[in-house]
């Protein structure tokens, strides 16, 4: 009898767990990356790791033991500190050399999906609770700005103005001193990527297949380009040319003065990450696990690298170029991070915690 009762409990629990577990995603987002000349930082899951650029050896991890949260956004390096946000509603300032906690901010009521943004003496924390929290570099709250929906992308900040993209389809420009709205513009879709500010123009992609060029002073539309899929990653500007990818796998080269397409290249799967320009090459990653080096002149492929791992799909984070390495971090690969030779894409080292 006891055996049957146990069996019943086991079956019931199994049934309930099966119904729920089949829908649960193992990760909520992709790894966040940052680099200085000698260190690569990766934020993924329970920890932030600092690795030696030369060989991928671990320097420290945060927290040193156990877990502090769920880290997915790109860490931001500023002076002797790195700033990183977590899905546990907390933002952290950590000593860049040692990984020791400097301060933490726990004022958010929802997850912190976006990376922090730094300008002058301010640290900006965008939250899924609709708020942008402006902190001092000591972690004190200065002011709060509230949008109509969640903030999934980091703002771009100058000493005077903070530009805030929101999932509510608006981009807001607020005063850096007090958070008062200077202007706001409704675009045709949600904004999940950080805008790019270049000279007097703000470039912002939307989840409605469009990239806008806006006057940074007024928000007025200068031009827009229709893409083939959602534009999630930020654009990158190099001289008079702008590059961005979309979730249908296209990468675009655009003339910044008129918004005309110079060339377009299809990479085969979603381009979520922000491209990186180094000299005459454009480094970009695609969701199905491929890293590319393209010629900036016409988009033709210089090299492409498939991670040597059949599970290495979902390459959605931003690639980072440091020294002679292109660093990428797929989600479901055997290793968390791959450092590729910038010249030919061969793997120099990889990291697995």
């Amino acid at each position: 009898m006891i055996h049957k009762i146990r069996q019943g409990w086991l079956l019931g629990s199994l049934f309930a767990l099966l119904v729920s577990a089949c829908g649960a995603a193992p990760a909520q987002s992709w790894p966040g990356l940052a680099a200085s000349t000698d260190t690569v930082y990766i934020a993924f899951g329970a920890n932030v790791f600092a690795l030696n650029v030369a060989d991928g050896q671990k320097r420290w991890q945060f927290p040193a033991e156990g877990s502090s949260g769920e880290f997915f956004s790109d860490p931001v390096l500023d002076g002797d500190a790195i700033y990183v946000t977590s899905y546990n509603k907390t933002a952290y300032a950590i000593e860049a050399k040692t990984g020791k906690l400097i301060w933490e901010f726990k004022g958010s009521k929802d997850r912190l999906i976006a990376a922090p943004a730094i300008s002058g003496d301010a640290v900006y924390i965008a939250s899924a609770d609709n708020n942008l929290y402006a902190l001092s570099k000591k972690g004190d709250l200065k002011w709060t700005f509230t949008a109509k929906n969640g903030l999934w992308a980091a703002p771009v900040a100058t000493d005077k103005v903070v530009y805030i993209p929101s999932m509510d389809h608006f981009i807001y420009a607020v005063e850096a001193n007090n958070g008062k709205t200077l202007w706001s513009v409704e675009l045709n879709g949600a904004l999940a990527g950080t805008p790019t500010l270049n000279k007097e123009t703000l470039y912002v992609g939307t989840l409605s297949d469009t990239l806008y060029a806006l006057d940074a002073a007024t928000g007025r539309e200068k031009w827009k380009v229709k893409s083939e899929g959602w534009v999630w990653g930020s654009a990158v500007v190099d001289g008079n040319t702008l590059y961005f990818g979309d979730l249908r796998g296209s990468i675009f080269s655009i003339n910044t003065s008129e918004g005309k397409v110079n060339w377009k290249q299809q990479l085969g799967s979603a381009v979520r990450g922000v491209p990186v320009v180094v000299g005459d090459k454009l480094f970009v990653s695609a969701e199905d696990g491929l890293a590319f080096a393209l010629k900036t002149s016409d988009g033709s492929t210089v090299w492409k690298k498939s991670i040597d791992d059949e599970n290495a799909d979902r390459l959605l984070g931003n690639p980072v170029v440091v020294n002679d390495l292109v660093v990428i971090a797929p989600i479901y690969a055997k290793n968390w991070l791959y450092a590729l030779n910038i010249n030919d894409g061969t793997t120099k080292w990889f990291f697995k915690p």
Binding site: I5, G8, C22, T206
Partner: protein, 271 residues
């Protein structure tokens, strides 16, 4: 295969429903869950009848198992005479097996459409058909309903309480009517399974997004109503409970020696 046949069609249908009911995700979950339940009624009724029949025949089958415990082939032949051959036994499980992927798909599609994290939003993007009208304008899905953020657990524990109550209710309805001898070990097993399912679902609703708790509540209520509608015994139990009358008696299946099990089976099966 799973995505193409179950998950993506469900996800598109749920999102379309969301847009048709004025961007209310809660209402979309309720309607979609009920619709799926209505479509799968034939499967549920089939499963229910098989389950009830198996429960009613437990004493007879036990009797045969004891009688022919050293003669497995003979036992199999006798069971087949009663209509419980290997194929029939497998067929009895089929309705449950068919329902299961539908439930999983329903649950997954709700998780997809809520798109509470960057990765799930990209999954949703890949799942939506290119012909879907105004998909971009529906993002982000409206996750608010009264005090609830559907992407987060209920801070006031109202939904977890409702999940526990409705899971218990639906498990009571799903548990087959007891046989005249109380069902013995099978009944005990069903009772413990019912209790464990209730406890586990309650615990999960404390941790999970409240949108999923809404699905659990609606699904449980739909199951209870469906069983009350299609199962005469359960209907009588509810009426008796509401009128505060004694619970209805169960027809006794003849199991005494000398009686013909086949006749007992037919008597039970006709109920």
């Amino acid at each position: 295969m799973w995505n193409a046949i179950i998950l993506y069609p469900f996800t598109n249908a749920l999102l379309l429903l969301y847009s048709l009911v004025g961007n209310s995700f809660t209402l979309a979950i309720v309607i979609f869950t009920v619709l799926i339940r209505v479509v799968t009624i034939p499967l549920t009724v089939w499963a229910q009848k098989n389950q009830q029949r198996m429960t009613e025949m437990q004493p007879v089958m036990k009797e045969l198992q004891e009688k022919y415990k050293d003669q497995p082939e003979k036992l199999q032949a006798e069971m087949a005479k009663l209509g419980f051959g290997p194929t029939t036994m497998l067929g009895g499980c089929l309705p449950m097996l068919l329902q299961f992927p539908i439930m999983i798909g329903l649950y997954q599609s709700i998780t997809y459409v809520m798109a509470v994290s960057p990765l799930t939003l990209i999954d949703l993007y890949h799942a939506i058909y290119p012909i879907f009208p105004n998909f971009d304008q529906l993002i982000p899905v409206n996750n608010h309903f009264f005090w609830l953020n559907l992407a987060l657990p209920d801070p006031y524990y109202v939904l977890p309480a409702l999940v526990v109550a409705t899971t218990w209710l639906s498990q009571q309805m799903v548990t087959p009517a007891p046989t005249a001898d109380g069902g013995g070990q099978a009944a005990e097993m069903a009772r413990s399974m019912s209790l464990s399912t209730t406890v586990v679902f309650g615990f999960m609703s404390l941790q999970f997004a409240s949108g999923l708790s809404i699905y659990f509540v609606v699904s449980n209520i739909a199951t209870a109503v469906q069983y009350a509608w299609t199962n005469e015994y359960q209907r009588k139990r509810i009426i008796a409970f509401l009128k505060r009358e004694p619970m209805p008696e169960v027809k006794k299946v003849t199991t005494s020696k000398g009686s013909k099990p086949g006749k007992a089976l037919k008597a039970g099966a006709k109920k």
